[in-house]
Point group: D2
Chain length 340, copies 4
């Protein structure tokens, strides 16, 4: 069986995670090189330890290499759009971490390049590959519960990001809720057409200066007539809280968090159970593997992208609309933004 | 021990429920008479069977009777405000089913009469006495989780009301969500200051003519800075879905539905558990008893009302604001309505 | 509708519980009198407060009264067999608390008297009326899971009985496990034919002098070929632990404890849930009502007893066999005892 | 960091599983060779695909190779004891699948050889590394619940083994329950001193000819005074049922099965949840990795064996005692066998 020869572009935390998975757990993947502008000895040693023999500083060198079939773009967000365009031009299949960009025109240019080149583009909305959320979606998509009425996403991080991080993050909606906006579309099987967002600062008063919030509730209208809601918090001290639910004609499907273990300890004080798995590395561990496996499968077998360019664009649109809604104190239609 | 001598005003379904509880399950209550404008032989026979000896058509006769200490107003909504005023004037303690009225000025007149007379008024927001929701509220109120950030209420009826019923119900927010608006205030320990509502018709297309909806998501801002959300459906085919959750500084408290039993049946097809208890009669059975017990206790011992006049007024304000929000497509401040 | 006129024989804790239920919650029951050899002013006042007008010291006076249809025997165990015989002779329907007696010959004489008189006898194995255990039994009895293989009963009291109590209790098997032996038969739908018991003193070293144990595991063979097991403890500090499970051809049905509420409180320390309802008064509250209702229904409508004389006899046989097994360190056949 | 150079002895299903884990998921392990008497092209190709370059038919060649530090004995049970002795003599560290042997004298000889050689021996009781069972054990071992009273293990396979397999398996106690006997010791932190076993044929009547059973309940007494019980079935149609529980002085710790996902689908028919993960490959997937990691760590760092020779011997003793108990219809002391 032919293997997909992959170059990793960006060897930060998420890049290393994908690299480990590609090497250890993804059939038919061959991670042959990496490029990172901050390349140093530690990275080179790590690369060697997992069998990557070629390390570059300049991604363009790898993108230009005809011996490479595909790239994993795991560099900083600001570089995504350009790397997509360059890779597409070089006819590489592309896995790109979310978001493509914060700017709509840059996203559109990147998607145009992908379309023109006819290459595969898969965006890193990893939660679609989680066994729990996937079960919700598959149950809704099967039609056995009839049409959806209410789509709910609870999404809370275990601990707040630093002010430093928040400053360049693009705000809670583009940084954190974007995953939940993807979930809404994925679970409902329909596009979001209007958004209303309430935000609040409940955890870190410093956010006021940055114009950001740490707590939010966003409600949406879907094209198919259903309603949706996301609730977000930057700090769930009990761990990563990731629950989804869809209420339909004939019933409701919902998933709870994966827990560290299934223990119940009963004493005179009460019954103690375990917390959710701590954060995304633990919760979505298998989903990251399945995501990469799906990419390799699609690339080798000419299958359509499981998370395509439009799937990358829409959550950004919703996030920008949510931000506008919160600032202007009114519901915002997605069409207002697409016209921009 | 002195008993509280009570007259039941209105012997429909909910009136009979309260009567049964007062007779069988509430200490120090003595249900001595009832009045119902539609009084018939069936009602008289039923009254006799539970030991009520006096049946009247005209409630005023009982309200005027100096031998009666308190009234349970369980008649149609349109009569509540007048009966409250008349009973207050006669110095009776008053338990009144929700809502007091759909009109703010009539509510205010009734509350003024109660205040002037110095009698007890308790509004029938029975869910406050449910063991589950009470646990959420007590946990938040204890402060052990710090201040609240997000308050969530899921509230779905098992099956849609008839179009006939909906016509005079005042709409979903005043008829159904009003209980959830009470829950929001109760759980957050703070007043709602602004509301945004999305509604949808997902179940019964007939509602369009009536200007009502059967599916809704309402988000609110609280005075203390927290955010809240209610999701409603008129049809949860698996039964009455009543869940609440408050996410706070140091953690989250949530309650699931009471189930018919705790069984798990595991087969090759999956694991089957029981559904929630069917509807409010089953789910809030004990809460109705505890509600009446609290009223009798407050009346006999001069305690403050556990659900007072303002607790009756605020959910109506929120419901009217939610209705306005849905119709005008914008968030509505409660202060806009209070100024009316 | 004719009401069943009932006399209460024995007004201790369990007698008062049945009396309250008969008065408040059981349709077509009329509790008209009580007899208690220790009758005092408190009991008379209590009786009056729930509407019982006649109080006697001597049960024979009530048993002889032709105006009484049925008796609830709630006196001390030593008196059960004689009161059954006397009541049967007087053609009264009989509800009798468990156990009928500790001696097999006295049980058999009592059952003979009932049979000769053709009256109804129902033994107070209240757990058969619990919504959870009943669901297990009904699922097995329906045949949808095929034939049973393994029947499991976990039964633990929240706190140990006093040495004083234990002294006259007949030992753990006749006092506590007897309910579980009834459950085994009820759930399996088959008779126990052999028993092996291990006992241990893990809680109260004083029990050694009394020849009793506080911890036990009893395994049984059923006539239908299935196996069963009970585990008992006198002290589950988290509350009354009452779980049952039947593993069958096509799957398994099990029930967990009823909990005080459904709350989950998640913090950095873990997730806290509520404990089981505290003890039998809380857990089997509704089952006691349903048990009495079933008795009144059977008496008034000539239905067979839901828990008949043989259902009273068999658990005593199993308990005696378990005791013998533990003392002799070998499995004991029920037939060894029946031959006695 | 030095790596442990390992040879795999036996490349059947379980051998391949360990090999995959050693190659992909265990730090500091280097799987350098395999030996399998049935070596064929498929095995050679598979070995190559995961980077094993040397394949032999004769394990002795590898055991004799001074370049190899450790062996994984995954061959058929009958060969275990000899391979242990040979490997110990060659000063290799030894991981050996359970059981060491069915015969006590052969086990003792093997353990003697290990002791004499001073090498590491770890027996493959993988469940000790499962996050759930480990949590039960750690909770008991911490002492926070006081001393244990009752230890319970439920262990049911999803589907019966073939008669062919059963014929040479040594019977249910040595083949299947042996894992549960290990769990009993592990959870109780104490040795089993006496066993009583009931067995039944409920699934496959063919077993009668083979003198085996498919359903069993085994009760035990521990040295520390606690009691224990295992219930086994060869067929749980809903999947691999693996639950453990320890009831202690101050409370109870129990673990439920890991489920395929956390979904709840609520409809008018009831609430459907997912089944347990299918069988040991799914349920103990991570435990197999952790087990191998612990071995490599102990070998490289001179730590004591997490599952030593006595841990391999005791469950065989209990299994033989259980078999004797079932056949002779009496409790059997472990000391009866050790004397043999």
């Amino acid at each position: 069986m032919k293997k997909l020869r992959i170059a990793l572009l960006g060897a930060g935390r998420i890049g290393k995670l994908h690299a480990d998975n590609l090497v250890r757990s993804v059939a038919n993947a061959q991670l042959v090189a990496l490029a990172d502008p901050m390349l140093n000895d530690d990275t080179i040693e790590w690369a060697k330890s997992i069998g990557i023999e070629r390390c570059e500083k300049d991604p363009s060198v790898l993108i230009a290499d005809p011996d490479i079939d595909a790239v994993f773009i795991c560099s900083s967000t600001a570089t995504h759009a350009d790397l997509i365009r360059e890779s597409a031009a070089a006819k590489k299949h592309i896995f790109c971490e979310k978001p493509i960009d914060h700017k709509l025109d840059r996203i559109r240019e990147a998607l145009k390049a992908v379309e023109d080149a006819g290459v595969l583009l898969q965006i890193g909305f990893v939660r679609r590959f989680d066994h729990n959320h996937k079960k919700v979606r598959d149950t809704v998509a099967s039609g056995r519960l009839g049409k959806p009425h209410i789509v709910k996403v609870t999404s809370r991080d275990p601990e707040p990001q630093s002010a430093e991080y928040v400053k360049t993050s693009g705000g809670i909606f583009i940084d954190m809720t974007i995953h939940d906006f993807d979930m809404l579309r994925y679970l409902a099987g329909s596009e979001v057409v209007e958004v209303f967002a309430y935000g609040a600062i409940r955890i870190d008063p410093e956010l006021e200066k940055l114009g950001d919030v740490d707590t939010a509730i966003v409600t949406v209208k879907f094209e198919n007539g259903a309603l949706g809601v996301v609730d977000n918090s930057r700090a769930a001290r009990y761990g990563y809280d990731q629950r989804t639910e869809v209420h339909c004609d004939k019933g409701c499907v919902q998933v709870a968090n994966d827990l560290i273990d299934t223990s119940m300890i009963s004493t005179s004080d009460g019954v103690y159970c375990e917390k959710p798995t701590w954060f995304f590395l633990e919760r979505y561990n298998q989903a990251f593997i399945d995501e990469a496996t799906a990419f390799v499968d699609a690339a080798l077998n000419g299958k359509p992208s499981p998370v395509n360019g439009n799937d990358g664009l829409q959550p950004v649109l919703i996030a920008l609309a949510a931000d506008k809604s919160m600032r202007e104190g009114r519901p915002v239609k997605i069409s207002e933004l697409s016209r921009d």
